[in-house]
Amino acid sequence: MTAVSPTAAPAPRADLPAGGAAGAAARPAGVRRKWTEHGLVFVTPFLLIYALFLLWPLVYGAGMSLTSQNITGTGAEFTGLDNYAEAVRDPAMWSSLWNTVWFTVLSTVPLVIIGLVLALLAHQLRVVQWLWRISWFAPFMLPSSVVCLLFAQMIFPSGFGFADQLLAEFGLEPGIGWLTDARYAMLSVVLTTVWWTVGFNFLLYLAALQSIPQHLYEAAELDGASAWKRLWHITLPMLRRTTGLVLVLQVLASLKIFDQVYLMTGGGPDDSTRPVLQYVYQQGFTGYRIGYASAVSYIFFALILLVSLVQPWLARRKEDSK
């Protein structure tokens, strides 16, 4: 955009808004801000839907969690904090919470690291970009049900599944209960998730890599820095903000795990993979205890809030301590 000299711009009207600091500074001192209500016309459609389908359910759900309401909305009786008290003492709630956290830990690490490695490769090679995009990003465009059914029905079944057949090709022992053995079920879900969603992080990193100023590398090369040194001292430090972003987005996405487990293992074997959302679904939609399900969701929500609030605080502390 070409620079427009400020004096050439028409004087701002008093009722024109003041989004940025520049706008505020340009307004002559002493002129009172005139409220113009037609701004409301612009925000109303959004706010209506937002209030009806986000704010209201949020409040309503909080209320519901204090009742013994069932799925049809009838039979509600105020029970106070009973649902919460029961949830806290419910081992199934804790195990589903633990499974969710465990899945988040197991999936976030490879999703961030592999995403970064793939982006570095694609950026460094600068050839056949379409091939990298199609192979690493295209799976992200598939619906979760397509991905999960593919892995559950063709890749992971014991014996004839593709994974077992590959193992046999390499002379390894096939017959692993990928989805039926409690030792491997969660790992198989993680593998599927990594395959399916790593493309998103790959793209975020690729965009970040492309925006690193080229002259940094040229200067480093003149100084005789090796490729490794350039990676270590320029590229990775320049990616720090992106890594923070990718990490937060990934943790929040992983905490919401539902589709993969529901479609691939049904939460089994022995509930060893069942995450919170599936427990909420089971309690509310198949067990008809929607009041109790709401209480569990709110405990989960509190966990997510905690993660999103603590993360920036940790990051700030780290920056301050430097």
Partner: protein, 297 residues
């Protein structure tokens, strides 16, 4: 013709500048990187290739071991069977209607709201914007129980609106658009006001066309997520005729029993629309996602 070649020359020059004005040399190290990348690309493509291969096999050979990519004959039987049963076209239509409507409503309401928050002033503007921003923290999945009861009460279960409405008001999209509008210089708009245009005219004839790149990014992103969404449509539709593609697949595939070729053919058909969209809009999608994600910084 000359204009075209000029454009080509320019993009080529652009690429050269981006590469630091020199061509990368093919050192042994770079060959090694290429080999690693090709191997990883292969690993990522294998599951898709296996699905495709299975869908062309005769049903009796789908579970044969050891590994065989191509059966005794290549057959389209599975595709014909799956398509002629007739559910998949219905689900595809439902997905198309609900994803398009959600996208249209999301882009319109979010763009208007973002404009309202950045370029107009009204009582309570800051408070309302704060309330919208706070919504980013609410994972939609946590709302499923109360939202479902609300849908029952409104009589929206098994309707298109029941699928569409809860997916529309996305606070993150407002945030992205606000960040974009804040960076757009006001001079154009102010000149139009001086010429006597009203808010609406300015919004539709100046702001919207100016924001086409970011709006299409938001639109593509919304379309992808709503087309692929599973949990909400799964909860709010019980009638197979009203299901979206991802939900319908799950609902009916179990009844196929062990007909793996048909299952894989269904998956290929279901996966194709967005893969085609991806091929067509590669650049916009890549830019859109990069932008959407990075706007959080």
């Amino acid at each position: 013709m000359t204009a075209l070649s000029a454009v080509f020359a320019r993009t080529r020059r652009g690429a050269a500048e981006r590469d630091g004005g020199r061509k990368a040399r093919w050192t042994p190290g770079r060959f090694a990187l290429l080999a690693v990348a090709l191997l990883l690309a292969l690993v990522w493509l294998l599951p898709l290739a296996w699905a495709l291969a299975t869908s062309f096999k005769p049903e009796s050979e789908t579970t044969k071991t050891p590994l065989e990519w191509i059966g005794s004959t290549v057959t389209f039987d599975a595709y014909e069977r799956v398509w002629s049963v007739g559910d998949i076209p219905v689900w595809m239509f439902n997905s198309f209607v609900t994803a398009s409507a959600t996208t249209l409503l999301t882009v319109t309401t979010c763009a208007m709201a973002a404009y309202g928050f950045t370029r107009t002033d009204f009582r309570g503007r800051k408070v309302l914007y704060g309330v919208v921003l706070a919504g980013i923290m609410v994972p939609p999945q946590v709302l499923i129980a109360p939202l479902f009861v609300e849908m029952v009460q409104l009589g929206l279960v098994d309707t298109y609106w029941g699928v569409i409405l809860p997916q529309v008001a996305v606070p993150a999209m407002v945030f992205i658009l606000v960040k974009f509008f804040e960076g757009v210089p006001r001079e154009l708009e102010e000149a139009a006001y001086v010429d006597g245009a009203g808010r609406w005219r300015v919004f539709w004839t100046i702001v919207i066309p100016l924001s086409r790149p970011v709006l299409s990014a938001v639109a593509i992103f919304t379309f992808i997520t709503t087309w692929n969404n599973f949990l909400w449509p799964f909860l709010v539709t019980t009638d197979p005729d009203g299901m979206t593609l991802p939900v319908g697949l799950v609902n009916v595939l179990s009844s196929y029993g062990v007909r793996y070729a048909q299952v894989m053919a269904s998956l290929v058909i279901a996966g194709l629309p967005l893969l085609v969209i991806f091929m067509l809009f590669q650049r916009q999608i890549v830019r859109g996602i990069a932008h959407t994600g990075l706007a959080g910084q």
